[in-house]
Amino acid sequence: MSTFLGLPGLRRREATSPEGGDPTEPWGAVPHPDEPLRWGESFPAAAKHTLKNEQLRRNLGHATATIRAKRAAVVDEVPDWEALRDTGSAVKEQVMAQLPDLLAQLEENVTARGGVVHWARDAAEANRIVTEIARARGADEVVKVKSMATQEIGLNEHLADEGIAAIETDLAELIVQLADDMPSHILVPAIHRNRAEIRDIFLARMGDAPPDLSDVPRELAMAARAHLRRKFLSAKVAVSGANFGVADTGTLAVVESEGNGRMCLTLPETLVTVMGIEKLIPTYTDLEVFLQLLPRSSTGERMNPYTSLWTGVTPGDGPQEFHLVLLDNGRTDVLADSVGRAALHCIRCSACLNVCPVYERVGGHAYGSVYPGPIGAILTPQLTASTGGVSGADDVNASLPYASTLCGACYDVCPVKIDIPSILVDLRAREVDADRGKHKVDPWKAAMKAASWVMSDGGRFGLAGRAATLGHGLGGRDGVISKAPPPVSAWTRERDLPAPPDETFRQWMAEHEKDGGER
């Protein structure tokens, strides 16, 4: 096609402004990070930019409200939901405890069924393995099933540098790729785009979109179907992730909706699956738990339209060459943390994103990682621990555990009961501790410490409140203090502070108790 302009898989990689993107991009600023787990801006700085994007907030507000209602309805109809969560949580804990044995078992079973198992210490090693396999098949194009693991290692960009185009086939992933954008959600990477924007992206970049394409979702889906059909029928190599790897049988599972997953997993001669080492479950029958928990938590459906399960190579059915790449890339660093290791239980459902008041307002890009939202706030710093993600005073990822109000909604919806709030608090403490050793007085931490001293005692809190009302005059016309004198300046440097009222709540209570509680 001579009119094709999208160049999927050939992301532009020139340096970008620190704001995370060029505002002259046709569909608004999009980030072009070099590191999938560290985009370059700290959460507070990035959030300041994304909060100004009203379109983004409207799109996200609409989408997350829709999915929250759907999830709640299908979870409510399961009488043993809590029992399933308890099992899911314990099974994942068991997986972590027995990981060496289970990995060996998975490898043995995949190999016995004609698959080839590769191990990758990090992103570069995994990318190299996939590239070599594609090269050996003479492929200059691979079709891809949406996968967080391959996002995390920047596989598409690596393949592009090696002259191999990676074609994303999931609809949302395709939208992100055509717009040269980054994903902003684990499940629906283009959640920050509305139908009108998607129509414009297709018209400008797809190359073969019908010129009279409307913004009706069904028409947009049909355009994607037509666009990708020939790719599916002719692809030699496919790359996928895996939702689950079953140790006792060597079976792998991909859960999807559109059928693009089935196409990639079935039609090409060669399949390469990149799977994080934590994605294991011990037995095939454990699927009976996770295939109930995942669909209801993620798309809010009783079951997703398609789930594919395969075990090595089946003669005469599907790819006759199968490679499984087992990826560490920081996971063992997470596993080494007795509290934080629960982040590895995540089955990537994205329910925590959909209920998070912070995510809903700032959007996925503000987290500066392919893993946004509450799970990203605990996973990204830990996955990048070896390069300072948890404790580096200057590392942008170390600020991620503060991207939360600790409201606990994420824990309530997590299908495997990851106690995200507790891990956030633990990571915050770790970050503060790491800094303490540096003999550097950080006014921010001093302010936090002062706040905890004040808040831990009712009398002090009352006094501080009365003192704070003196700051009433500092508020601007909108009742917000954006620059306060020291030491409060340490706080207002990072965030705005509502101007204190004329009297504190405690003063008001005291007054009204005197009046006999009348109002």
Partner: protein, 225 residues
């Protein structure tokens, strides 16, 4: 040290194994406490496989997914298959399909028989109007039908590429819950399985569900009692 050995060594270090060195970040973890896995969830449903309640629930769920469902008496199956495929033009069938099901098919519907020694190419399948298969098991609570590649269902590609999938499910194959279905599948976990819950769909645009993307856009379920 090979990548395999190195990754496994790091895992052991992360779990507090002695003599395993440290993880990449220089950490040594602690051994997790042993875990008891509670199994208090429902292993079976309230109703028998194939009971009226279970069939009714399956139909309700499938219709909710915008699948077309017909309850069919066994004797009427060939006639209903013929009616359902009348407009298809051509149909691909797996090698072990019950030939009787095709007995009433109009002559102008071309039948392609996929066989292990003569498989249809992806392009042939793309040019075929429909596919007719049996199923292995169905779960009513989630409206899910599972194919496991046995000769009456065929290899995965045939039920994927044609735009219309006509799937025959016997009433006695329908169980209520996912655990019941999984335990039927477990003895042959190695078979390639496709779990189908309605026609292909996407929620990628504003989380609004739209039926019909890359997989068959139309799913007919013929439920034989």
């Amino acid at each position: 040290m090979s990548a395999r050995e190195d990754v496994l060594r790091r895992v052991r270090a992360a779990l507090g194994g002695s003599g395993a060195g440290t993880t990449a970040a220089g950490k040594v973890g602690t051994a997790p406490a042993p875990v008891e896995v509670p199994r208090a969830y429902r292993a079976t449903g309230v109703h028998e496989a194939g009971s009226a309640e279970v069939l009714e629930q399956l139909v309700d769920r499938l219709v909710d997914y915008r699948a077309h469902v017909q309850r069919v008496a066994a004797d009427d199956l060939p006639a209903v298959v013929a009616e359902t495929l009348a407009e298809a033009g051509s149909v691909v069938v797996p090698p072990g399909l019950d030939e009787a099901w095709l007995g009433d098919l109009p002559r102008d519907v071309v039948v392609h028989r996929d066989a292990p020694d003569a498989p249809l190419s992806a392009l042939d399948l793309d040019a075929t109007g429909a596919v007719l298969t049996a199923a292995r098991v169905a779960c009513s609570e989630t409206g899910t039908i599972v194919l496991d590649g046995e000769p009456d269902q065929g290899r995965r590609a045939i039920s994927l590429v044609p735009d219309v999938h006509v799937c025959v499910v016997r009433a006695d194959q329908v169980v209520e819950t996912i655990p019941e279905a999984v335990r039927i599948l477990a003895p042959h976990a190695e078979r390639p399985q496709t779990w189908i819950s309605g026609p292909s769909a996407t929620s990628d645009i504003e989380l609004d569900r739209v039926e019909g993307v890359h997989g068959p856009r139309t799913l007919h379920v013929l439920l034989v009692a």
